[in-house]
Amino acid sequence: MDVEILARIQFAFTIAFHYIYPPLSIGLGLIMVIMEGQYLRTGNKVYETLARFWTKIFALTFGIGVATGIVMEFEFGTNWATYSRYVGDVFGSALAAEGIFAFALESGFLGVLLFGWNRVSSRVHFIATLGVWLGSMFSAVWIVIANSWQQTPAGYHIVGEGMEARAEITDFWAMVFNPSSVDRLLHVWIGAFLAGAFLVLSVHAYYLLKGKHVELSRKAFKIALGVAIVFSLAQLATGHRSAEVVAEHQPAKLAALEGHFDSLAVADMYLVGWVDKESQQVRGIKIPGGLSFLTHWDFEAPVKGLNYFKEDERPTALNAIFQFYHLMVAIGMMLIGLSLYAGWQWWRGKLFDQRWLLQVFVWAVLLPQIANQVGWFAAEMGRQPWVVYGHLRTADALSKVVTANQVLFSLIMFSIVYVLLFGLFIYLLNKKIKHGPGDHPMIDKRPRQRAMAEPRN
């Protein structure tokens, strides 16, 4: 295999793995802030126990997020040196801002969040939790700005020609508020809130099914369900806005998302389908003129299709992009349905009476994770063949001095380490969940010795 494909696989693999964790940190952070806020407001110890329990799980996700995140920062230089030279002036400043304004806030307060329970007052601890959560939110801000600049560049000019060409910043705020950054940021944030909320829902649904930690789980479930209801609905709005921005600024991507080939024609919207590249057809269930309507509020409006663009300026992995995008949308709808149904049961006072619903929630934790992943795959594959839309091709962005064997070596290395890491993560997560929130967190210092001592008595 050549360097380009290997480097792309490595980047996709390492970023996809990384992206399991930061959304959980952002989402769990929000819920921990609510829990600790409730504790401060009501003084009810249950909320403190909950916050302590979720802090332990947060620590697990955060630790892996940091370790796999540093990989990403290095990878731009190691594997994509030409890209780094080209975008450093613009992209680098966003990345540096992330480090200094967001990541430092997060990691600075993390020590107090994790280890400061007995050392600072509950008010100061709340501020630390808030600091960590805001830091993770700000991280998302700068990273999404950097990525959005690659999708819809703004506030820059190109200096130099050929191999010497590079983008230089001309207007910082135009770069920050490039056409897609705000809508995509909201979409990413909310995707993260849903990832966190559904993890909390899953764990506490499991406890409720087992009849363990019941009082506490009911409180936690309601907090997370509130978050899920509000944000699954809000995600519909940000998703729609993101699609409008794609329609305006990245028409070739939009055409790929819906498998729309005809160069200027009414475009349909598919609920499910299969893209046949050869015959340029999509087979499936469609809403005729649906895409035209969504982008122009007119079922008859023509939309630029893939054939409108030069063959080397449009994405190629059409079926994958189509399927990823449709899976994301379908999951979004499922999350809305599930949250609203549970909300209705809550309103009727029967939320915890239906075991099947709790069982669904145990497994629904996977849905936002899958949606976050496939959404990004659709966004990034839809941007191809460009790494900076309209300016720099992915094929031209590689490190010139790195060989295929070197990339193969690191790809194998990351594959082994990440598989192990994931196994350990699941194992420890499961263990923490089985152990559960301690009602008396101060007494569980040496459970084993005590267990061994008991039979003798």
Partner: protein
Amino acid sequence: MATFLGIDYPSWWFLLIGGVFSGYAILDGFDLGAGAWHLFFRKEKSRRIALNAVGPVWDGNEVWLVIGGGALFAGFPHVYATLFSAMYVPFMLFLLFLILRAISIEFRSKEEMKWWRSMWDTIYSVASIALALALGLVLGNVLQGMPIGADKEFAGSWLMFLNPYAFLTAFTTLALFMMHGAIYLLMKTEGRLYTKLTVLLKRAIIAFILLFSLTSLYTLIYIPHLSDDFKAQPALFVVPVLTFLAIANIPRMAAKRKFKPAFFFSALSIALLLALVAIELYPTVLLSTLDPAYSIDVYTAASSEKSLGIMLLFAAIGIPLVGGYTYFVYKTFAGKVELDEMSY
């Protein structure tokens, strides 16, 4: 060219990035050093105390690496691109050890089995040693220079990074961090572990002074270009003199068991050693051994003036903030380690 306080922007960035990497070396230096000693502690309780001495802060310390990497990418994209792609294999191994170390800290105390704990203890310690060596190896190669072509691309094989000078700087860095880490642990421990560390510290100081003298000698004899700046401007000799004074104060304070001042002097030594590196390099960052004209200096590597100016503003706002949180965290966890139910 725009200047601030009479210094042009690229030079400011050189100072700033140097400052961030010094901060990183001082902070992560002590927790890497503490990790390198880990297997010397035999008792489970000692290991837990040593681990929890760095527990609340190691993550914050690594932030400085992230900021340094981001600042290098943003300020000197050509240095970032050339260095990272040239050192592909060493950097990938660096990442491997960084991940292994992070997860060993997270995971070791999650199970009680003996094999589980000794496995993660070994990984933690080996990874800490490997990271210290890797940082020294990168430094040694940057100091010597590397074959860089007219196109700013590396024109060699990564195996050339494994050379005697780089090994020397690698082991000097390890000894320095182990000395620094032992002093940090002495501030955080008491009892028998404390007594044991006083012995270990003595060995580390001797090893560091020997290796440092050897590296200095090797530099003066075999890499003369690194002392050019000092010959040209004798006033700069004040920096090596201060460095020697700072280093000399470490054993003096350690002998009096005054470990806070000892830590201050070892942190100062790290900062001054990196200041020496900066003086030796500036204005070059990556020296080409093929032709000095191909070297990448702060001016050829820098981002646009506009971008550097914006980021200087970031730094002016951000660095006091980072200093503030760092102070707050260290203040919260000041004093000897106490284990509780949230500890590692």
